[in-house]
Symmetry: C2
Subunit: 248 residues, 2 copies
Amino acid sequence: MLKEDSFSVTQDCSDCPIRHRAVCARCESDELERLEDIKYYRRFEAGQTVIWSGDRMDFVGSVVSGIATLTQTMEDGRTQMVGLLLPSDFVGRPGRNTAAYDVVATTDMVMCCFRKAPFEDLMERTPHIAQRLLQMTLDELDAAREWMLVLGRKTAREKIASLLSIIARRDASLNFGGLDGPVTFDLPLTREAMADYLGLTLETVSRQVSALRKDGIITLEGKRHITVPDMSLLLEEAGDDTDGGMLV
Amino acid sequence: MLKEDSFSVTQDCSDCPIRHRAVCARCESDELERLEDIKYYRRFEAGQTVIWSGDRMDFVGSVVSGIATLTQTMEDGRTQMVGLLLPSDFVGRPGRNTAAYDVVATTDMVMCCFRKAPFEDLMERTPHIAQRLLQMTLDELDAAREWMLVLGRKTAREKIASLLSIIARRDASLNFGGLDGPVTFDLPLTREAMADYLGLTLETVSRQVSALRKDGIITLEGKRHITVPDMSLLLEEAGDDTDGGMLV
DNA sequence: GTCCGGTCTTGATCTGTGTCAAAGCTGACT
DNA sequence: AGTCAGCTTTGACACAGATCAAGACCGGAC
């Protein structure tokens, strides 16, 4: 279950600042009005595991700001990140989930609760929203499968390039920036988190990031601020000339 | 698009031999009757790619017999299998799919076509079936995420053990067999296909299968017929003591 | 300022898996 | 029966990435 004391309601949803891909009081007001249910913000603080593997999800929500990760763990402690939650991403599903949600940076979410179970409501009362939910789930499935290719077949350098291009793309689309000129963004993950995502060690991540810098594919300011002079070069490094959307 | 000449209608669905997890004329007759649409068998022959990456899926169906795989490919030819279709599995989704479906062994499917687009029909006319579709998609997503852990963090030996235990479990559940005593099954995949699934080379697969045999975890008759004397030993090798369901 | 913990980089070495190569097996076809 | 092609096994070696270890950097607490 959600640990009730790990977050707090901060404000009403009415000034939701960004467009959400899922359900959101601002952007989908006409659809959600009819649900007549509660919409509100919740804030999750960094460093917490807010949903545990095996928890039942009794809500739907959309990320407004911050970043969280979805992680699978083995008994001996090995972990694999299986998803990244960035602003505009949707959270929530019927039944139990199998991965743990860890908050990396303070994250605000728009939560939508329902009088009945959220998913019964969604399916019965608003089939068109249910259809969107299905579409988003399928998108996540596609993303997971593309990531399987990254994990199974790409080299360390290609993996790093893949991750950077995903984050760059996500960032650009949120800020309505283009991918033609240089792209600049802040890396929201530590080297260790990147390693967890890519099935590598943090040392290898560090080395490969340095290598990409030496080769002029990326520029670093500090540890986290990255500029990509030419996205097509990065995509080439990723072994990924299709510039179609990848990942979550 | 489905290559229309790559399969043929063989018989009516009325004698559908197995229970399907998805939609099936026999098992869900009351639900599907109301759709008043065509249900029929189609046979796909081994060695074909029947659906290509980027194809639009204009049908839903369920595997009756045979085996097919879902594969992602890079431009340089590296491939990663991202899903396995075994009897009782469901196929079909709105929109385009990103992976190619390859038929490994002659596969019969129950196809359900609709007067309108299949997924509009599903969502609008039968929300309870739509809900099942969502649930199945989520199950696939869970499976994909568990597989990401396998690909990213497990050793070759653990990967082999994971794959074998998945197939053993699927096989046992289809044949209503238990997992307590010895489990026997036929490996439906070549060493190369196993390697594609596991992000390994076929040589490594061969070596690790031999190693598991030498260590008494499995017994081989011929190349493909496998007996697992004690499933718990195999699960331990997989680094996977939870005997919960994995993968597709 | 100094200390300190967390993060990141770099180096040296080790090892698991890939690569290349050769040969064994098995079933299908003539 | 022989032969052939596809699949599989096994060996020798190479190399990418892991592991172990030492420091560098950087921001916050005091």
